[in-house]
Amino acid sequence: MTETTLGTPAGPAPGLAPSIALGNLPSLPPGIASGEVAGRLSIRHGRLIDPANGIDALLDLHIADGKVLAVGEAPAGFAPDRVLDATGQVVCPGFIDLCARLREPGQEHKGTIASETAAAAAGGITSLCCPPDTAPIIDTPAVAQLITRTAKQAGKARVVPAGALTHGLAGEQLSEMATLRQAGCAVMCQAERPIINTQVLRRAMEYAATFGLTVIMRPENPFLRDNGCAHEGRISARLGLPGIPEAAETVALARDLEVAKQTGARVHFRALSCARSLEKLAAAQARGIAVSADVSAHQLILTEDDLEGFNSQCHLNPPLRTAADRDALREAVRTGLVSAVCSDHQPHEPDAKLAPFPSTAPGMAALETLLPLLLRLVAAGVLDLPTAIARVTSGPAAILGLPLGNLAPGQAADLCVFDPEAKWRVGPKTWLSQGRNTPFWGERFKGRVTWTLLGGQIVHERRR
């Protein structure tokens, strides 16, 4: 099998003092409500793909006490409570989604932690990072703890809240990052809000670097974005939609890269959308700047042409760009320049998309299409299956700096068993997310999750 490429390992830039250790930090966000006992399980006859350990082989997997007990032969005397027959199926680490909005607290009419983590489990996602633009914003420990507590009660997925990089995401005052870290925020993030004052950005990155905190940025210059709602190009010219030029992304990316270099902060860029950004990212990595990046899965499939007929389900931010950009993103995912693929899940109530295109809310519900979209890329020969899986397991785990996405013995038994040949149609009978805003509604897909295990517990099982 081929060696899967991981993204640039995240770590403090060389030559900097070691970051201050923060005590009392949970190594893993909680997944299962305490008190439940995870059983002993064997998963037999599956194709085990564990990119972190370079495994792609027909191997059994044995689980006890919520952890991986053994790979291959069962230890002598191991008596599983249940055996899952994974013949013809793929067994891999549970997916880790770096960006999924759960809409709770604040926008429960779009989704709740319970509804969206259930959708995540159905999509094979066992850990997800939620951006801080909830209401209230995740800039106090109370909000972070509310989210992790509610997620634990729901028990469907580990939820990693991203702390606000600035107070109220206003881009003016630093948030209490160390406190947020202790409350469970593994990373700091500015969501979609700009930091106009570059001095504030510099201080924020410096402060985050003090504690070895990864900063997630969505590079976008608000002035160049203006009121744009579509890629500035052929389609926006024809449909008369206000455009978002590539420079809206690349100008912000260039600034943020320089500030990252200046401060030595570990910076991760969310949702790159165009080829020119990838050039900048590659050059920065070559210069030794500790930066990584991800793309949203739909950016690897759809293009600006999908806006034809003013399809508001394709109103996304960043916008869908050209086929050439999409191809460049695909190549970057293949080589590992881009080390993670996200769902960028944004559930909405139906009304949010029922308006003239520019007035609709951007974003799509995407937890449940993450795997099938990746499998489309595999079927199209863009990625091999282990690489595709690496981009949603070991890749994002390294960015979060959490011991996830790895099925070595002793690791948490967060895993996904999927049937790569199972056909299904996106529709009311198959869909769990409260948001039905997807351009793929009604479409047929290949590849469906059979079991999702979180800490050794089955949190999703496909009814047959």
């Binding site: 008369g240 030029p245 508001s312 003239p356 295109f357 520019p358």
Partner: protein, 328 residues
């Protein structure tokens, strides 16, 4: 796969009129031919034909426009329809009522046709996708996207003066970026096979990839109108100065304002058009606007006939569809 054209019924008849894109040359010519017939109605003592008697047309103006609203109103009245004009910009949307709520309320009053003007691109498409079957939607301008009746009245005016499109050089001058009128004209000129189409503007008033609209790009007015048969001036919104797109009206007029002297490079029999209302001394001087080559007022009269033709075609299609349903 391109989405099906929601403007047409399954036999290719016009059901909604949202954009000129995706309409065949035959259909555009049919609209122009029908317009010839409707032009005569204005010369009757009773300027009215009973085609749409008993039909109700609602003018939904989410963006104010006196001229377009008036010509649509007249067109509907000359077809004997009952006309309801709603200036929604000021009323319901500010109370939190959604566009769909407004639509549903009017549908409950058994409106047969909506004429929609909206500040956002795609608004007419959105409404057409959500109206009840049997109701037609005419786009009276949506954002920067499309203003198809204006596009057709301009084509009608050009055809009356110049005939065959394939031999014509048409120059469109001004704010192409924000102009739904220009987009409709460009779509129509592409479909009707105009000889050469040019767009003339500073870069700040051009969209990305302007050549993809099927036109040659010029930044110099004299060069752009050289040997042109038709010169179309676009309206310049004053907001463009505030958006840092232009330094001043003064400099704009110096470079892109049409004067008799700058028109000298065009063909001697060139016609000058403008969708109105004109900013005199910004887009063109009065000498040109009121001069012998200006057909601007004729555009207004033609506008009513074009709108009658389009409304009659759409209502006619709905009538036929209703008839088919009744027989099923």
């Amino acid at each position: 796969m391109p989405p099906p054209n929601i403007q047409l019924d399954d036999q290719g008849h016009l059901k909604h009129f949202l954009t000129l894109e995706g309409l065949s040359r035959e259909l555009l010519i049919k609209i122009l031919d029908k317009t010839e017939g409707f032009l005569g109605v204005a010369r009757q003592a009773v300027k009215k034909v009973p085609l749409c008697r008993g039909k109700t047309v609602a003018n939904l103006f989410f963006e104010t426009s006196t001229r377009t609203r008036t010509t649509f109103e007249l067109a509907a009245k000359r077809l004997s329809a009952d006309v309801l004009t709603l200036n929604i910009a000021a009323s319901s949307t500010s109370k939190g009522e959604t566009l769909l709520d407004t639509l549903r309320n009017l549908e409950a009053m058994h409106v047969d046709m909506f004429v929609v003007r909206h500040a956002e691109s795609g608004a007419a498409h959105f409404i057409a996708q959500h109206v009840a079957p049997g109701v037609s939607v005419i786009n009276a301008g949506d954002g920067r996207h499309s203003h198809p009746t204006q596009g057709m009245l301009d084509m009608f005016t050009i055809r009356r003066h110049k005939g065959d499109f394939s031999r014509l050089t048409v120059a469109i001058v001004g704010d192409i970026l924000h102009s739904r009128v220009a987009r409709s004209q460009l779509a129509a000129l592409r479909t009707l096979g105009a000889g050469e189409v040019r767009i003339i503007a500073p870069r700040t008033l051009l969209p990305a990839e302007p050549e993809s609209l099927g036109a040659r790009v010029f930044h110099d007015l004299r060069e752009g109108v050289r040997d042109a048969d038709v010169v179309i001036m676009l309206r310049l919104q004053r907001e463009r100065m505030r958006g840092a797109m232009l330094p001043s009206e003064h400099e704009y007029f110096q470079l892109f304002g049409l004067t008799e002297e700058r028109l000298a490079t065009a063909k001697p029999d060139a016609i000058v058009m403008h969708p109105g209302p004109i900013n005199r001394g910004v887009e063109m001087d009065s000498q040109v606007a009121d001069g012998p080559r200006s057909v601007i007022l004729e555009q207004v009269s033609n506008g009513i006939a074009v709108r009658m033709a389009v409304m009659a075609l759409c209502i006619g299609t709905q009538n036929r569809l209703a008839q088919v349903d009744a027989h099923d």
